[in-house]
């Protein structure tokens, strides 16, 4: 740094340029602060989502009037809805005696997610193995954009397809009583999940060092033996992370299940019956609910629940991907 005496000895012109330089430095500093402020926005968004969804869900725990109708025991424990009736789980917020059991909704969500994962995971992982281990370059150039296009189909379009076409197809195969059911919604949901699992698994397989494969081939293993016993196990954490991220997408997805699942909150593990998921319940009911009513706050409670679950699921999935990267590039 320059001392003040040096500055005084400089001719006027140079002094001016020094002032300008200092002004420039202040400007640089201000720009840097501004950009930093901007970057905090992403953090701010997550915090605001948490705070504002949580805030509207909070009366479920605190407000006496809301708690009278909707509270934790109503949500999770079996309720007796009449003197001679046995305890039951029912979601029926609009009725003489509003019923707020979210267990049928959780069961519905899990059923759809389970079908989606069973359908999507094997296909996506096998396709990822094919692309990274066997496919010639020109095939890769076709498959990757194709799957990106699949990822780009809006969920409302997938929901529409499931409602109009897939439901008839599923019906002609399984002959369930209900045209819209867990299988139908789950398969459509699987279409949305495939690109996620595929992309992450393919990345993980590509991150496996080439030497692993060369060593295996040099020892006389065939290409499929190398793929099955060397590449896939090495990429397994990544494949698993892809499934975790796909799972997160499946529980939160709204439009597909809203349109293709039948939306009946039935407490059963029969996959041929209609289901109602957490997300679809919010989407279907929030439009008609009275602002500030117990029902309104209960729906925000469902939203907060979804947010927390997907947050934890995504965080652990991302952590896995991160660890895999350091292991394979740094280790």
């Amino acid at each position: 740094m320059q001392s003040p005496s040096v500055v005084q000895n400089k001719p006027p012109g140079q002094q001016l340029s020094l002032v300008r330089r200092r002004r420039g430095r202040i400007r640089e500093w201000m720009i840097e602060r501004f950009i930093l402020l901007n970057a905090t926005l992403a953090i701010g968004a997550i915090v605001l989502i948490f705070v504002f969804v949580g805030k509207e869900a909070l009366p479920v725990f605190t407000s006496p009037e809301v708690k009278e109708e909707a509270n934790l025991s109503e949500f999770f424990l079996p309720q007796r809805y009449g003197p001679e009736k046995s305890p039951d789980f029912i979601w029926q917020p609009v009725s003489q005696r509003p019923k707020y059991s979210i267990i049928p909704l959780i069961v519905g969500t899990l059923k759809a997610t389970l079908v989606a994962m069973l359908f999507a995971a094997p296909l996506a992982v096998a396709a990822a193995v094919y692309t990274s281990e066997f496919a010639p370059n020109w095939v890769k150039e076709i498959i990757k954009p194709t799957i990106e296009l699949l990822a780009g189909i809006p969920s409302v379009v997938l929901g529409f397809f499931a409602l109009m076409v897939l439901a008839s197809l599923v019906h002609s195969i399984f002959h369930f009583t209900f045209r819209l059911n867990a299988i139908n919604a789950g398969v459509a949901l699987g279409l949305a999940v495939i690109p996620i699992i595929y992309t992450v698994s393919e990345d993980a397989l590509n991150a496996v060092p080439r030497q692993y494969r060369e060593a295996s081939l040099a020892l006389g293993a065939t290409r499929w033996q190398t793929a099955w016993t060397v590449a896939l196990p090495a990429a397994l954490p990544g494949v698993f992370a892809g499934m975790v991220l796909g799972f997160g997408r499946a529980i939160g997805e709204t439009m597909i299940v809203l349109m293709a699942s039948g939306n009946a909150a039935i407490m059963s593990w029969n996959f041929g019956e209609s289901i109602r998921t957490l997300s679809a319940t919010i989407a279907a009911e929030l439009g008609e609910v009275v602002f500030g009513s117990a029902h309104y706050h209960a729906l925000f409670f469902l939203g907060a629940l979804l947010f927390v679950v997907t947050f934890v699921v995504n965080l652990s999935g991302a952590a896995y991907v991160e660890r895999l990267k350091t292991k394979l590039t740094g280790g």
């Binding site: 996506a124 066997f134 799957i147 499929w224």
Partner: protein, 303 residues
């Protein structure tokens, strides 16, 4: 004998992976093919330029197209500067392993995973009730003008949702700018911001464009976040103020396919609308894929 078994095993294994890939591609073809063959006949000049008539069983979808374009335009204006500057922070200013940079990255990753319906709840609670309601209470003395569903709130909600898309694409583009460029600029006396503004950002424009296109394509297809923040079943007029409600393609599809009084009569229009939305997102996505593959080739050549 053992050799033969291995060969058969290999054949089966590879066949399974090929089969899985083929199934995925076939499903995409089935979805797109069904929509194109059923929707193609509906596309006409009138379909694009007229409003729905007779309870959505006749007429066109112009208001929905207009609403969608207005919505994503407002969203783009909000999200692109914010996303680009965040990426600039992550790649140009922050030390890669600083706590702040890692926190921002975790937040961006998580934001991408928040279910879209939760964004809808957030838009309702934050933008409409908190900000909009706040404006009404403080500036308008309780008159309801902003504290209700409106295009501005829907587009801002979508901006939050698409923020990660813009950030990730821009950061990739910044990474592709060779460090020599930055060093050359510093050597000539350029300051950090001058270097970013005159050298780094101009070279990242294709990547920023990719991100913006992907964000628009994503935003145009999302329905859950706008259901409670501004989209309307049917409006006799086009939105012309920021606090107007609007019609939107995706929401229009949802309404027509689940709430139509006469499904068979609505079906052709419905298929036409789905085809328009699908074409819109596909063209945008293809554009983004093309630009990105160009960047990647250029990047490989630069190395």
């Amino acid at each position: 004998m053992a050799k033969n078994a291995t060969r058969i095993q290999g054949f089966v294994f590879k066949g399974l992976t090929v089969g899985a890939t083929a199934v995925i591609v076939a499903m995409l073809v089935l979805v797109v093919g069904n929509i194109v063959t059923n929707g193609y006949g509906r596309l006409s000049w009138d379909f694009f330029t007229k409003a729905p008539e007779q309870g959505m069983t006749a007429g066109g979808i112009f208001p929905a197209i207009f609403g969608t374009v207005a919505l994503v335009l407002l969203m783009t204006i909000a999200v692109v500067p914010l996303g680009v500057l965040t990426a600039v922070y992550l790649h140009e200013y922050a030390k890669p392993d600083s706590r702040m940079a890692r926190l921002v990255r975790v937040a961006v990753g998580n934001l991408a995973g928040v279910p879209s319906i939760v964004f809808g709840l957030f838009g309702l609670g934050f933008f409409i009730h908190f900000i909009g309601g706040g404006i009404d209470k403080v500036l308008l003395g309780g008159e309801v003008a902003w504290g209700q569903p409106a295009i501005i709130w829907a587009s801002l909600t979508l901006a939050v949702l698409t923020l990660p898309v813009v950030i990730v694409s821009t950061e990739e583009a910044l990474r592709a700018v060779p460090n020599d460029y930055r060093e050359a600029s510093y050597a000539l006396g350029g300051t950090k911001w001058q270097t970013i503004r005159k050298i780094v950002l101009p070279h990242s424009i294709p990547g920023i464009l990719t991100g913006s296109i992907l964000a628009v394509s994503r935003g145009a297809g999302e329905v859950a976040p706008i259901m409670f923040t501004g989209a309307a079943y049917f409006l006799p007029y086009l939105p012309h103020k920021l606090n107007d409600q609007f019609m939107e393609l995706g929401y229009h599809i949802f309404v027509m396919s689940t709430q139509s009084p006469d499904v068979e009569k609505t079906k052709p229009i419905l298929y036409g609308t789905v085809l328009v939305l699908l074409m819109l997102t596909f063209v945008l996505n293809l554009l983004a894929i093309l630009i990105r593959s160009r960047i990647r080739t250029a990047q490989r050549r630069a190395r």
